[in-house]
């Protein structure tokens, strides 16, 4: 029986990110300004699996969840600037409307790609990586009241932009620290690993949502379809930890072999 020269690793990552996003185009009834109310930072958590080949190249897949910190208080002001002939009112805490709940825009996407191992020492590595990301973005749902300055009529405008298709790329570096391998022949199959990661992500959400306008007096309702196109560009710094599987009859030198890799015949013996 031969032992194959690959090992799996599992990752759990938490990060903070900071960046910017291009402004959304101006949709009907302030949709563009409504979508641009996020602050420039947020939190990320992701979970992934990597498979290392010959300790040099890994194919990895992660599921990421990026939460943007929203500035809900700024939304009416941003929309107001676009509609000076209206008074924009936001729901109160007892309104039953959702704009000031805790929902936030978030990207949820799969990222798949490659990373490489650059050995620093026996159990420390620098790992550059590049991923392609594909998933969806949910923007916060909510409502605003538009009261005309020239009449007592009021319209309630509700925004819903959920599941907007999103894709892009991510590139960065990991500083990776592995736990020392057990002595050859030790039966324990797992090892731990921790590290710090910095990365740059450029993701673009492009799709359509709905803006619903309801006249409060007559009850008449009109549903408009609005396009959204928003690019998120941000740096993130985070920590990760995880476990890997050494494989049966692990040899410590297999994990911590020096560059360039040389397969040793003894590693493939039964």
């Amino acid at each position: 029986m031969y032992r194959l020269p690959f090992r799996p690793e599992v990752y759990v990552n938490g990060s903070l990110f900071y960046g910017n996003g291009s402004r959304s185009p101006q949709g009907p009834w302030g949709a563009g300004n409504y979508l641009d109310a996020s602050k420039k930072y947020g939190l990320k958590d992701e979970y992934g699996l990597g498979m290392w080949f010959y300790n040099r190249i890994a194919g990895e897949v992660f599921y990421s969840h990026d939460y943007f910190i929203e500035d809900h208080e700024a939304i009416p002001g941003r929309v107001q600037s676009q509609y000076p002939d209206y008074f924009i009112d936001r729901p109160s805490v007892n309104s039953g409307y959702d704009i000031y709940s805790k929902n936030s825009r978030n990207l949820r996407y799969w990222r798949m790609g490659l990373s490489a191992n650059i050995r620093l020492s026996r159990n420390k590595y620098i790992q550059p990586f590049v991923f392609y990301g594909i998933g969806k973005t949910d923007f916060p749902v909510g409502s605003l009241a538009f009261k005309s300055n020239s009449s007592n009529n009021v319209g309630i405008v509700s925004y819903k932009f959920e599941g907007i298709p999103t894709k892009g790329y991510v590139a960065g570096l990991r500083f990776h620290l592995y736990s020392d391998g057990n002595a050859p022949g030790e039966p324990f199959p797992f090892f731990g690993h921790i590290g710090i990661k910095v990365e740059y992500a450029s993701m673009e959400a492009m799709g359509t949502g709905t803006v619903t306008c309801r006249d409060l007096m007559s009850g008449a309702e009109v549903v408009n379809v609005a396009e959204v196109s928003k690019r998120f560009q941000y740096f993130s710094v985070g920590v990760f930890f995880g476990i890997g599987v050494k494989g049966k009859r692990y040899s410590g030198s297999f994990l911590f072999s020096k560059w360039p890799y040389k397969a040793r015949k003894s590693w493939f013996k039964k």
Partner: protein
């Protein structure tokens, strides 16, 4: 062992005390003043002019509430109870001059107005059988001003003439008591 017992008991007392934290507030209405307003700025403002555009016209009721009781530790926007000792049950608005073909001089024009409950997400047509219950809970400063100090009534059905008129407002309370006041003469154009 004894110190642990007293520590846990003390912590329990603190926890128990803080469970009854939500405030309960009572107040009473002590007067009534009415004034003409216009809603052009968004939130209606008192307008002392003698002619106002009818599309933005409204009436403000100053209710003069006075707090009579407050129990509890904190006021919670969702959980705290606020009640009036003698709540307002209904409202009548009488127009001094002919309003339109359906409302001659001296008739009840209450159904021509809508109550703005401090937030444009909450506007309640009047005289649809549900009475009139001013509240502060939809206002953005509800946590600091728990009971309604005023109520804005916006004109939503327009008169068909521009005669000078005044609106007589009568508030009827649950006890049967009533208060009456009227706006200044105004021309709605």
């Amino acid at each position: 062992m004894r110190s642990a017992f007293f520590t846990f008991g003390f912590l329990f007392l603190i926890a128990f005390s803080s469970c009854e934290g939500d405030q309960y507030v009572r107040f009473k209405y002590t007067g009534l003043d009415v004034a003409n307003v216009n809603s052009a700025p968004g939130i209606p403002v008192v307008d002392g002019s003698d002619s106002i555009k009818k599309e933005i016209y409204g009436i403000r009721l100053f209710l003069f509430p006075v707090e009579t009781e407050r129990k509890g530790r904190y006021f919670d926007d969702h959980e705290s109870g606020v009640s009036a000792e003698d709540p307002i049950r209904d409202i009548d608005i009488i127009c001094s001059d002919s309003f339109d073909i359906d409302h001659p001089a001296g008739s009840d024009v209450t159904n021509c107005f809508t109550y703005l409950a401090g937030n444009y997400f909450h506007m309640f047509p009047l005289n649809d059988g549900s009475g009139f219950s001013p509240t502060a809970k939809y206002q953005h400063d509800y946590a600091d001003h728990n009971f309604p100090e005023r109520a804005d009534l916006l004109l939503t059905r327009m008169p068909d003439n521009t005669a000078y008129r005044k609106f007589i407002v009568r508030l009827k309370y649950v006890s049967g008591y009533a208060r009456t006041d009227s706006t200044a003469l105004v021309k709605l154009y």
